[in-house]
């Protein structure tokens, strides 16, 4: 009975908060991308329980939600009764009084503790969603930036960090990959999806808008034409999405770039350059209109 109660307490105080936080974390980071090992899991479980527990205990004691635990006598009576049936029979009324108090204290502590875990997890979710932005804002504060990395990165799979846009301050930026296969074929395209195994290994990568580099033709052409341009030897692969199994991949080049909706106007220098272009276009349009008045 004693072992059962201790197991229950361990589950409620150490494992429960971690499971709760994982469940909430799963709303922003798909579970297939999170692959912590056992030691990381244990560390995370302890971290998630110690802070909220201490905070809960302090609040409960501060505002009188729970009474003092009654000293060693109370704990001795409770655990002795749990341990030995004979002791339980000798002081049955005292055992249940103590047990009632014990449950009440734990119920209050757990209620506060899980509330803190839920609030903390939701805050962490928002931090993960905005990680790239926060990271960018803290670029002049290396210690704060390192603290942010320690808070967020261990909770997210490394593959997810690399193959997603969570790193980027501008969420409009896209991830592009160049994939060299073991059969010496080179593909490039925009990253669409990736699948990870239970051990965190990469199973496959899905890309879209795929082009394949005709390397052999390029090399042959270079022999007869030294000015052959590499860009002319990319061929579009039919189909919307293209799946490459990880076992076939030799190397991956990851590129982060903007799309056609790049935040041009947010860059002061770029904005000046665009304004100059605009003025030139307007001047050219005006000249064109003057030369062809019939078109007005």
């Amino acid at each position: 009975m004693l072992a059962l109660v201790i197991s229950l307490l361990v589950a409620l105080y150490i494992l429960g908060p971690d499971l709760m936080s994982r469940w909430i974390l799963g709303f922003v980071v798909p579970s297939k991308f999170r692959v912590p090992n056992k030691s990381e899991e244990l560390t995370r479980a302890v971290v998630w329980s110690v802070g909220p527990f201490l905070l809960s205990y302090w609040i409960c004691r501060k505002f009188g939600v729970i009474p003092p635990l009654g000293g060693v006598d109370m704990i001795e009576r409770l655990f002795s009764g749990l341990y030995s049936e004979e002791i339980f029979k000798m002081d049955r009324a005292g055992f249940f009084t103590t047990m009632h108090e014990f449950i009440r204290v734990n119920r209050s502590l757990l209620a506060f503790m899980y509330s803190f875990v839920i609030v903390g997890s939701i805050i962490l979710d928002f931090v993960i969603i905005r990680y790239g932005v926060w990271r960018h804002r803290l670029r002049n504060w290396p210690r704060m930036r390192a603290l942010l990395a320690v808070l967020v990165l261990p909770r997210v799979s490394e593959w997810h960090v690399l193959l997603s846009g969570m790193l980027l301050a501008d969420t409009r930026a896209q991830v592009w990959v160049d994939i060299l296969t073991k059969s010496d074929a080179l593909y490039k395209g925009r990253l669409n999806d990736r699948m990870l195994g239970a051990d965190g290994s990469l199973i496959n990568i899905t890309i879209e808008g795929v082009e394949r580099f005709k390397r052999q033709q390029y090399l042959d052409e270079r022999k007869v034409n030294g000015d052959a341009r590499r860009e002319d030897f990319w061929r579009r692969v039919e189909g919307r999405v293209f799946v490459i199994m990880a076992a076939e991949i030799s190397s991956i080049n990851i590129r982060h770039t903007y799309t056609s909706v790049e935040p041009w106007g947010e860059l002061e220098d770029m904005n000046d350059a665009l304004n100059r272009l605009r003025e030139k276009i307007r001047a050219a349009q005006a000249t064109s209109s003057n030369n062809h008045p019939d078109h007005n």
Binding site: R135, H136, R139, R145, A146, A149, V150, L153, P154, E158, V161, L162, L167, L168, D170, A173, W176, K188, R255, H256, T257, Y258, T259, S260, E262, W264, G265, L267, D269, M270, N271, A273, L274, N275, R276, L277, R278, K280, I281, A284, Q285
Partner: protein
């Protein structure tokens, strides 16, 4: 891969994005006439960068904040 290694990688990515922006800006400044011509003829212009070609639609140019 630990947090420090990932942090290093992130710094490289930041650099890569900044480099792309710089490349686009440099190209616009040095090829203004070509870009204007391309925009007027096709309604869009393409800027070659190390990260691939980046499209500049006419709307982006005309909507630039003065």
């Amino acid at each position: 891969m630990n947090g420090i290694q990932i942090e290093r990688m992130l710094t490289m990515i930041d650099g890569s994005l900044d480099m792309t922006k710089d490349e686009v800006l440099r190209y616009i400044l040095s090829h203004e006439a070509e870009i204007v011509k391309e925009l007027m003829e096709k309604g869009e212009a393409w800027v070659p960068t190390s990260a691939g070609k980046i499209r500049i639609p006419m709307s982006v140019v005309m909507d630039a904040v003065a």
